[in-house]
């Protein structure tokens, strides 16, 4: 067992654990913290995949900005314990086994497909890690128009949030 494999399993376990905690937690703030756990372990996985810039963006924007926004709204609205509702019997006895079966089929297919068996090396290998310079060149040359479009999208989102959260006169 090499270090990257151990790190992969540790982070994968943490991510799945965080996702399960998100489902099981009764208080929204606990769910938010579980989601932060998922995002942090995903950032480590991005590092393992040789994408350090994406890992940094993941922590700064996702775990930082977006989750702070969520926690802020939870605190602002004083969201208490969630009410449990009884799950439907069909969801429990048909949906869950069917979901597991689908997941199993997907996993078996992926583990035997041609692209799935590609080895993902790249930890510590500087020449293999995605270069941030190349990434920025791609972003600002080939994807310049989508980039500008997203800036307009963000502007519209800010205006929309302002209009929605404004007090009615």
């Amino acid at each position: 067992m090499s270090v990257p494999i151990i790190m992969f399993f540790a982070c994968a376990l943490l991510a799945v654990l965080g996702a399960v905690l998100l489902i099981l937690a009764r208080e929204p703030i606990h769910s938010a913290l579980a989601l932060v756990l998922v995002m942090m372990s995903l950032a480590v996985l991005y590092l393992l995949l040789g994408a350090p810039f994406v890992a940094a963006v993941q922590i700064i924007v996702y775990a930082g900005a977006i989750m702070v926004l969520f926690v802020f709204v939870i605190m602002l609205l004083n969201a208490g314990v969630e009410e449990r509702t009884d799950f439907s019997k069909i969801a429990k006895w048909v949906g869950v086994p069917l979901g597991f079966f689908l997941l199993l089929v997907t996993a078996v297919y992926l583990l035997h497909s041609s692209i799935g068996t590609t080895i993902a090396t790249g930890v510590g290998a500087a020449n293999q890690a995605a270069d941030t310079r190349e990434l920025s060149q791609q972003l600002f040359r080939q994807y310049l128009f989508p980039f500008e479009a997203t800036s307009i999208l963000i502007l519209i989102a800010i205006l929309g949030a302002l209009v929605l959260a404004r007090k009615d006169e």
Binding site: L22, L45, V54, V57, T85, I119, T121, Q138, I156, A165
Partner: protein, 102 residues
Amino acid sequence: MSAIPISWYLVLSAVLFGLGVVAFVFKRNVITIFMSIELMLNAVNLAFVAFARARGALDGLVFVFFVIVVAAAEAAVGLAIVIMLAQHRESLNVERVNLLKL
């Protein structure tokens, strides 16, 4: 020697996406439902990065940025809607929000 096949990442991505769907369906709090959407987006991002790695192309990483930007915009507008909903309904339970239900 680090030999992690891409498929492991893809399976993890599928598992996280599935858990996100389960959370989306089973949760009753609007904010938690939003968080499960973010979980699903994160799972998709992991698949994007893994595929970018497998193909040796950077396009997948660029797409991850766009997904993150859209997620941020969605969170901003969505949480504004949640605040408005909480002010009008005094509850975060989605089952109380049934104005359009027949």
